[in-house]
Symmetry: C2
Subunit: 681 residues, 2 copies
């Protein structure tokens, strides 16, 4: 009795015995080894490259001979000739088992290799996107077995990819027959899988093996800004990021003013719906240009947003969200055709997925933060604060997760600030004030130098210095407090009191001058008393929301804090704590997570399982309604002061100097071969 | 130990024991007794009326006392006061079990009571339409359990109707919140159930209990005529029928000329698609007017059609159907939104269901005939012939069913006939020719009198006598043969040969005069030699198709024949056999089924189970392709003659005199309370 040869895969260590002649790809699939393949093992896509290890491998307990696989075959020779195959590499679908063998799967042949590196944490992102390409060989029609072309496509998907429950829309039915004949009964279908059931819909079909790529958008639709990432749906890489202001701002800066606008003006909700959809269409075109792709390659868009944005995006009147009991039209996730909601800049058949809402005031953006930061998997008690015009706040651990939303207003996004602006090149994002001289230095987005570094003027000549963004204003106010320019109540002292001519009387209060570019025709950037008040209101609301959750959890302290924000730059934990945005915690336990909601959107874009998971998670989260909780108001009033008179953590200065992070680089992972761009929040 | 009271339902005989206080409706549901209810047992809809039988019932083995139910309660008193309740009746949702009781469910309280009476057969139609109304009491929103309104509607459907997997489109999400509040947290939803899986989609939602009705269209889309029935989706009653010519005729009379038109003209398929959709939109508006309903009450349309019509309806280029191997774009049933295919005259959310096709030349119309006539359930071998521009032919029994399609051309629908017209008021539908005098008498659609009856002229003064329809021309030609006006080759004799001045020389051949209305400005209706040739070609194709199936089945005779046709009037079996349309069979074994394809469409409209059944049935049918079968041509040539020189069945004259059937009456069942109309085919 002969024994079948043993096949061992590295790095997974999975092993099994297979009959002589079994393709390596088949063996990998049967063992559940992560080996990529788009063409289903036909030697077309070259994604299944592997490296056989010859020689003795005592570690694995087998001796491997150099005839352990079949000889390099014609398909591989042709592929090597035309596109080149690295030395030692074989195609997993062509190489067959002959004797015991050890097979190494290189990183680029692993589907699930993607690592999302964030400022504070790195983790693997499982690639299992809802929308994927599948190459098929379709049976030709036969008069004696008269099934339709669609039914033979469905059978090919079942036989070749184990996919069932396939449906096609009318436009697909219309193009199906010519495409199949053009591709000589081979085709590549773009399939969109429902996370709810086992059904798949065909979004597009291409003749033969489709060399192109398909993309998805992860969109964080905020009250003030709309931030989008364009992702390659094969590997999750972010190939471009872009942002625009939410044009609904002209109908009201905060959520409640927009709800009021809808209530007071007939058709007001539809005006706002049109405005935001137009903006998303423009953003889609822009981001496609920036990523050098055709917008029709965008097959899917995932949205995260607060409930009011959610309803206005979908064209639902948000009036119920403006009054108790704040009933959502729908709280579960929404899947639909992009065309149905007027998103016409992407592929005609593109799909939209909107994450579920947690409650009437706690939206899909909070759900996305929960998906990204996973408080429910944290052993210690974590407070997660996603800063925006509406702050999403989560508190929890493996036992219980609470969530609320707090109306901070747009100050943290640079709006309602005299020199404020959206996080974009030219915006001041970092500020330091010399404790003795009260002279500030700063950095702007798009330049790695500080304003007092040599060459700063030249380096910023293209962008200019245009204003101050959310993270900049937070640092500026905190630094002003540390440098003694502000008193604990938040009042800016006079030039005499503070001892610097940068404090200037304006009306009955004072302003502090950060930068004067008027000599070169630029702006004069100051922090006014009004700016301080706006930040005080915003941070009080944030703090009160966090405290409310802590009350509900019956705790006075948290183990760690995660600060997130959609506005591009990372928030400095030190300055946030000086300002009193968040409850006190050891500074080394405060981390900055960048755009957690946006990351959550990307995760949902890249994984059907994540969509299922977040629907389940959302149902398990305890919602706390700030609007009707009397203690919220109490906490809010008590949080008005700026507590720390002096730098509370001088010994931790190095921690507060965050590394210079290129936003795209951070978001797209270490292995991102895509173009790198300036961050644009 | 006490024993729960026994409840026995009649006429079903179902019985079970239930605790004292159990509502009769609840008991009925648990036993699977067919007792209607729209409001879910809230005393609103009054559909669940029952009659308790008091006194002794030895037949059932129980003694029933007059306190077997609770007393007539307030809800029933109010209902009786406002709308009136028949003496002895109770509302099943209000009456509760107190002691052993026998409950009679009157016919009007049975959901499945509908009987479709056809000329030749009557059978029960199970009402389980895909689209139905459900009354709901929806839980109000609660800040402490912040589910969306849609999710609470879904929960109400689950709790109150055991319906799961509910989805809603954007337009429903948009109207959901105001409707629920207007209805004070009660609503009636229009639900459409998928026959493939357990999912339901909300097509519409009305505040409170919706008093209105919803309707569906069963449409038989033929090459020459489009026939539609408007059905009440609650009970399946046909409330109006209407037909129009298929405007695609201008692109080609038969299927292959339309396929050619699409091949030869860029955009030709789209022209034909627009034409037929426009016609269906017009037909929809007309039939709604005729049925005195608003077109927006039409929530669903079911289509049956041959493959070329199927593709052109869906907007798919039919080019592949014009050449071997005659590949369908899709062979399974198609479910989609009416709006998606430009059917905009019905409800905006209306759904379309197109029956599956059997093969490239054997379409959804043949599937509908199979659904209606059920050859696979026949113990004896039945031949079913659905006569149209393309004839659908089925042969089979419980062991095996064969199907083919035969290109008969439009003659049987009155097209290509000199005085031909669609079956409509004024068209001659019955013809008899006196064997001795050669004088014809006839009947026209819309009038029950024969042309030689007293009062005929007055009775037809409104419609006039406008032409001759399909069933009329079949009878005319057969009668001409029996009366010796035609010879076996199909040649019309001269006035001298035949002995009547009605035979008139026209060119080199003769015509036979049926009616001359020229004196009153009306038409001169003759049967020309060209008409005879057209009928000969058509009947030869029909006969050849039937013979082909018999060859395949290896039989020389069939046990019975069912003649069906979409063109309204019933085909006379005797005349069909004289003509040689069908293989010889004992005349009493030949029945006429009316529009079997249209009936199949109605069955699919009224039953989700039927949709499932026909998808399964279609896969089991053996398809025979006439276009590539050499024997078809042989049979065709051999079938040209008109075999029976004399009336072959003089003793059966009473059978051949079909009863005067009012079309709508026949279609809508004995219990149809709806308005009755003149048939319009």
């Amino acid at each position: 009795m002969s024994t079948d040869p043993l096949v061992i895969f590295t790095p997974s260590g999975k092993r099994g015995r297979f009959p002589v002649g079994t393709p390596i790809l088949t063996a990998a699939r049967q063992l559940g080894v992560d080996l990529d393949s788009v063409c289903g093992g036909r030697g077309i896509c070259s994604k299944c490259q592997i490296t056989p290890s010859y020689g003795e491998f005592s570690k694995h307990g087998v001796t491997v001979h150099d005839d352990a696989l079949n000889e390099f075959n014609e398909v591989e020779q042709r592929y090597d000739r035309i596109r080149g195959l690295k030395s030692g590499r074989r195609l997993g679908c062509q190489a067959t088992v002959q004797r015991d063998v050890v097979i190494d799967v290189p990183p680029e042949s692993q589907v699930h290799r993607q690592v999302v590196r964030k400022a504070a944490s790195a983790r693997a992102m499982i690639m299992d996107p809802a929308t994927k390409l599948y190459y098929l060989e379709v049976q030709e029609p036969d008069m004696h077995e008269p099934t339709g072309d669609l039914e033979r496509v469905a059978r090919a998907l079942k036989d070749q990819w184990e996919i069932e429950g396939v449906t096609a829309s009318l436009p697909i039915l219309r193009k199906l027959q010519p495409v199949l004949r053009k591709g000589k009964w081979t085709a590549t279908v773009v399939l969109n899988k429902s996370h709810r059931d086992a059904t798949h819909r065909i979004l597009d079909i291409h003749p033969g093996f489709f060399e192109g790529r398909i993309y998805g958008l992860a969109i964080d639709l905020g009250s003030t800004t709309i931030a989008a990432h364009l992702c390659d749906l094969r590997n999750g890489n972010v190939i471009a990021s872009a942002g625009v202001m939410n044009p609904q701002i002209r109908f009201g800066e905060d959520l409640m003013s927009r709800v009021s606008y809808a209530m007071m003006n007939a058709g007001g909700d539809q005006e706002m719906t049109s405005a935001v959809r137009d903006a998303i269409n423009t953003l889609t075109t822009e981001i496609a240009t920036e990523g050098s792709i055709d917008p029709s390659q965008i097959m899917e868009a995932v949205f995260v947003c607060n409930p009011v944005m959610h309803h206005l995006l979908l064209g639902i009147d948000p009036v119920e969200l403006g009054q108790a009991p704040f009933a959502l039209a729908t709280s579960e996730s929404v899947s639909l055709d992009a065309a149905e909601m007027g998103l016409t800049s992407m592929n005609d058949a593109a799909r939209v997925f909107v994450l579920p809402c947690i409650a009437g005031h706690v939206g899909a953006d909070a759900a996305a933060v929960a998906l990204s930061e996973e408080p429910g998997k944290s052993e210690d008690l974590v407070l997660i604060v996603d800063v925006g015009t509406n702050a999403e706040i989560l508190l929890g651990n493996t036992e219980r997760v609470l969530a609320c939303s707090s109306p901070t207003g747009p100050a943290f996004e640079g709006a309602q600030i005299s020199s404020g602006q959206r996080a974009a090149p030219g915006a001041i994002e970092r500020v330091e004030i010399d404790r003795a001289t009260k002279v500030p230095r700063f950095r702007v987005i798009g330049c790695d130098l500080w304003s007092d570094d040599e060459g700063f003027a030249e380096a910023t000549s293209s962008t200019g210095i245009t204003g101050i963004c959310g993270s900049g204003i937070i640092e500026a106010v905190a630094e002003m407090r540390i440098a003694g320019i502000l008193d604990p109540k938040g009042l800016i002292g006079s030039a005499e009191q503070v001892g610097t001519p940068r404090c200037v009387m304006e009306g009955r209060t004072h302003s502090y001058l950060i930068y004067d570019g008027t000599a070169e025709g630029g702006p004069r950037i100051t922090v006014t008393q009004g700016d301080i008040r706006a930040i005080q209101l915003a941070k009080s609301a944030l703090y009160a929301g966090a405290r409310l959750l802590m009350d509900e959890m019956q705790v006075d302290t948290v183990d760690r804090v995660v600060l997130a924000g959609a506005f591009g730059a990372h928030i400095s934990p030190k300055h946030a704590m000086v300002l009193g945005m968040i409850p006190d915690a050891p500074l080394e336990k405060v981390s900055s997570a960048g755009n957690a909601a946006g990351t959550g959107a990307r995760i949902a874009l890249c994984s059907v399982d994540a969509r299922r998971a977040i629907e389940k998670t959302v149902r398990e989260i305890t919602k706390v309604e700030t609007a009707i909780e009397p203690k919220f108001q109490e906490h809010f009033v008590n949080a008005n002061a700026i507590p720390h008179a002096t730098d509370p953590f001088p010994h931790l200065a190095t921690v507060t100097s965050l590394p210079v992070v290129n936003y795209n680089q951070a978001q797209s992972g270490a292995e991102d071969g895509g173009r790198r761009r300036r961050r644009r929040g």
